[in-house]
């Protein structure tokens, strides 16, 4: 059987890099791999220090992959400031199948104890690292201590990213394999049916959205605060609130909210200010929320949970009389997928965003000191240094002047920001194998977008059911999100968890990236708005104001002719 699969795989095809995107390969082996740019997590050019950060992320993947005995590792590298990753085998071709089976067993074992591992081991460890960061006095630290703190930070970040993948592999494999089995048992019920049995659980992403909604109810309790929110642009609200006692009291409430849920930037990575640094995005959501009284997030969630329980009862009824191994596997995967549904969002809250915020905070403190010493022009420029440069500079009483180096690198980033990176480099080795891991990748990342059929029709993946019409707003950053109005269709490259409070305002979501298990799709289903994900080119093709018909079941977006 393995040799038959190898024979069926298509011939690899070398990919020519565009002339404006030259690639220097470190080895012919590298060139033979298929390198993709992860537009979902890493759409933008990476600054030098960010590249080191993402190297840590993927080193974490590889340690987790080793722990689970997986036959695959990730190679990662920057190309023209963009970050590309490739999958490569960790064992010889003859051993891949057997190794894959060992990995299946390891991941199954983690799936069997997912909730227990999270509560008993993983979350406590994550929280201990966060507490260690929070206990350190950044401002008051002497230079040698800051340097030591930096080194220790890198070690802890490395450990957290290993934990990240130790968590997400069984988390997502549980949901994906549950869906695989469900669709084998109950064919022809549409893409969403299996996910109904997993919906309606609370998680940190939904909790953050609900807490923001509840904050908006408290804003409504003061006519003054309400007026301030209504009468000013999101970016000006915070200052205005400071002018009155009621406003100042609300600033406190907002601060409390941000201390729990605001330690998140708008996308993955180091260069995005956390909401606690700049709460404009949160305030934009508050402005939208105070205009409405028709939502009850808890009731919405209860409705989803009821529908879930009914769907589960129905499935169990139909499985009566099936051989026991079928029923046992169904129940095993259902239970693991329930835990996965929570952890697929919670891990991001606790690791992706919370730990990144701590690392960013440390780097900005380093940057502040370096800017004071005129080694760089401003604190945020610290991200334009490489890790080795940073290590050499922190703790130096007279750090060397790196300002012109930073300027050169900024120009390089600006240059490549204006160029669309090729989605794939190296070699096209065909679609991922049709095995549980390959299928999960397809459901999460969405696979290559389908070829365009008609100019006014975009095809993507079904993300969340329903059909809706509304004016498009193409939003490239949360700063741009202020233009989104109630009933608009939010069109974005991707929607990281901090974007999701906008789902209460938008009528539907359309993205360039992602599949039915992407964060966008999963959360859109919880907010019960239609979503078409993974269109590839929505942000390039659609313009603000165009009327879109979004068909979440079909994975189709129609652009109305003017």
């Amino acid at each position: 059987m393995p040799s038959a699969e190898v024979m069926q795989r298509p011939e690899p095809v070398a990919i020519a890099a565009p002339p404006n995107f030259p690639v220097a390969w470190e080895s012919p082996d590298d060139e033979r791999l298929s390198w993709t740019q992860d537009r979902m997590h890493n759409p933008d050019p990476l600054l030098p220090l960010e590249r080191s950060f993402w190297n840590i992320v993927y080193a974490g993947f590889n340690r987790a992959a080793e722990a689970y005995e997986m036959p695959t590792r990730i190679k990662a590298r920057p190309v023209n400031t963009y970050y590309y990753i490739a999958l490569k085998p960790a064992v010889s071709p003859e051993e891949v199948e057997a190794q894959g089976k060992r990995a299946d067993a390891q991941i199954d074992a983690a799936m069997a104890r997912l909730g227990e591992l999270w509560r008993g081991e993983w979350l406590p460890e994550i929280q201990s690292h966060l507490a260690w960061w929070d206990a350190f006095d950044l401002r008051g630290a002497a230079a040698p201590d800051l340097l030591e703190h930096l080194e220790e930070t890198l070690k802890r970040a490395a450990r957290l990213w290993e934990l990240h993948f130790r968590i997400v592999l069984p988390t997502y494999m549980a949901m994906s394999q549950f869906d695989d089995l469900y669709r084998e048992l109950f064919a022809g019920e549409g893409a969403f049916r299996s996910y109904r049995l997993l919906q309606g659980f609370d998680n940190k992403t939904l909790e953050a959205g609900r807490a923001l909604w509840e904050l908006s109810r408290r804003a409504l309790a003061s006519a003054e605060v309400r007026r301030t929110l209504e009468g000013h642009a999101a970016g000006a609200v915070l200052a205005e609130l400071g002018k009155t006692p009621a406003g100042r009291a609300f600033q406190q409430e907002l601060r409390l909210y941000l201390e729990v849920f605001g330690l998140r930037g708008e996308k993955w990575g180091l260069s995005y200010p956390s909401w606690i640094e700049d709460p404009t995005a949160a305030i934009k959501n508050l402005k939208d929320y105070i205009a409405r009284s028709d939502r009850d997030p808890r009731a919405e969630q209860a409705t989803l949970a009821d529908a879930r329980d009914r769907a589960i009862a129905e499935a169990r009824e139909r499985l009566q009389g099936y051989p026991r191994p079928v029923v046992e596997r169904f129940e095993f995967l259902l239970k693991a997928a329930h835990q996965g549904a929570v952890l697929s969002e919670d891990h991001g809250f606790w690791i992706d965003f919370a730990s990144t915020h701590r690392v960013r905070r440390l780097l900005l403190e380093c940057g502040r000191r370096l800017a004071d010493a005129h080694a760089i022009a401003q604190a945020a420029d610290v991200l334009y240094l490489t890790l080795d440069e940073l290590r050499g500079l922190v703790g130096e009483p007279s750090p060397g002047d790196h300002r012109s180096g930073v300027v050169e690198r900024q120009a390089e980033v600006r240059h490549f920001r204006a160029i669309s990176p090729p989605p794939v480099l190296g070699t096209d080795n065909g679609p991922p194998p049709d095995d549980p891991v390959g299928r999960f990748f397809g459901k999460f990342f969405g696979g290559p977008p389908p070829a365009p059929e008609a100019p006014s029709v975009l095809r993507g993946n079904a993300g969340s059911p329903g059909k809706v019409r509304g004016p498009a707003k193409v939003v490239r950053s949360l700063a741009e999100a202020t233009k989104l109005r109630q009933g608009d269709v939010l069109v974005a490259e991707t929607t990281a968890p901090p974007w999701t409070p906008l789902f209460a305002t938008a009528a539907a979501i359309v993205t360039d990236t992602g599949g039915i298990l992407s964060h966008c799709a999963v959360v859109a289903r919880e907010y019960r708005i239609p979503a078409v994900v993974g269109t590839g080119r929505a942000t390039a093709e659609i313009r603000d104001g165009q009327i879109l018909e979004v068909d979440g079941d079909a994975g189709l977006v129609r652009i109305d002719p003017v």
Partner: protein, 303 residues
């Protein structure tokens, strides 16, 4: 012979004097014999006498007729027996198999489809009654009688009994041969096992796992694990053949313990019956149930 037995509508398999009843037909009589020493799912037989009684007032039976109006007495007895079956199974509304059990007095019966009627996963007295009527109708519907007329066969004399037996929702089913049907060897037991109900094995829609076991020491001399793509499962009102989920296709359906258990069963049945046997059995919740046992009719070099 006890005349009471001779006229009874309901005979419980494996209980009392079921052996003495000639109105059970081959299938049910066979089970009576086996139930004495093996675990056979609880069952009763609606005898040929019940069939006679239902037919006294009419020459034909339409397959959609209602038993309650056709013969209220037989319907009442059948319902009560179904309730009794529920008690023996430990559940109010057991799922049953309703099968024709042919009597051989009239050799022409053998050529009729009526000999092989089977309805699986029937629940409730109404549904059982409907299945019974359909079995009867296969013998004496207007179309069946027309067939007899055309072939110059007697219009009466064909009689059947109906076997109503708890249906085992098999996790694994197997067909056993107490001699090797391919080589004719009497020293080996052959086991063909697969997922779900035995219909997929018997019907040939699945390639089962196949074991050849040496009787002398119960050693497995050959084992072929097949890619099992289809299985028969219970579905609303009946059964369905469905795809086997991917994760189970290449899994061995039985382990060493079960191989041993089934080998010993085949050998015991061969000894009991005095000839090589073709056995259908099923595992459910770890327990082995005997469903059918027949002589192997075609054996190369049989003694």
């Amino acid at each position: 012979m006890d005349s009471e037995v001779a006229t009874r509508s309901i005979v419980w398999i494996g209980e009392g004097d079921c052996h003495d009843c000639v109105l059970l037909g081959g299938k049910a009589a066979n089970l009576c014999h086996l139930a004495a020493t093996h675990r056979v799912p609880p069952a009763f037989c609606l005898t040929a006498a019940a069939f006679d009684r239902a037919l006294t007032r009419r020459p034909t039976i339409d397959e959609h007729a209602s038993l309650a109006s056709l013969s209220p007495d037989v319907y009442a007895e059948l319902s009560e027996a179904y309730r009794g079956l529920g008690q023996r199974c430990g559940t109010d509304a057991p799922s049953v198999a309703v099968r024709s059990s042919a009597l051989d007095e009239d050799g022409a019966v053998a050529s009729f489809a009526g000999q092989h009627e089977t309805y699986l996963n029937i629940v409730g007295p109404e549904a059982v009654a409907a299945a019974v009527v359909r079995c009867w109708a296969s013998l004496c519907s207007p179309r069946a009688l027309e067939y007899r007329r055309k072939h110059g066969l007697a219009l009466d004399g064909a009689r059947i009994a109906i076997l109503v037996q708890q249906l085992i929702p098999a996790d694994v089913s197997a067909v056993l041969f107490s001699a090797n049907p391919v080589t004719g060897s009497r020293d080996e037991v052959v086991i063909n096992a697969s997922w779900g109900l035995g219909e997929s094995i018997v019907g040939g829609t699945v390639t089962p796992d196949s074991y050849v076991v040496r009787k002398a020491d119960l050693a497995v001399v050959s084992l072929q694990v097949a890619e099992k793509r289809r299985m028969t499962v219970m579905a609303a009102g009946g059964t369905r053949e469905v795809d086997v989920p991917r994760f189970m296709r290449d899994q061995q359906v039985i382990g060493a313990d079960q191989v041993g258990e089934m080998t010993r069963l085949a050998m015991a049945l061969e000894e009991r019956m005095g000839h090589p046997v073709d056995v259908e059995c099923a595992y459910h919740a770890g327990q082995l149930h005997l469903l059918q046992c027949r002589p192997i009719t075609t054996l190369i070099g049989s003694r």
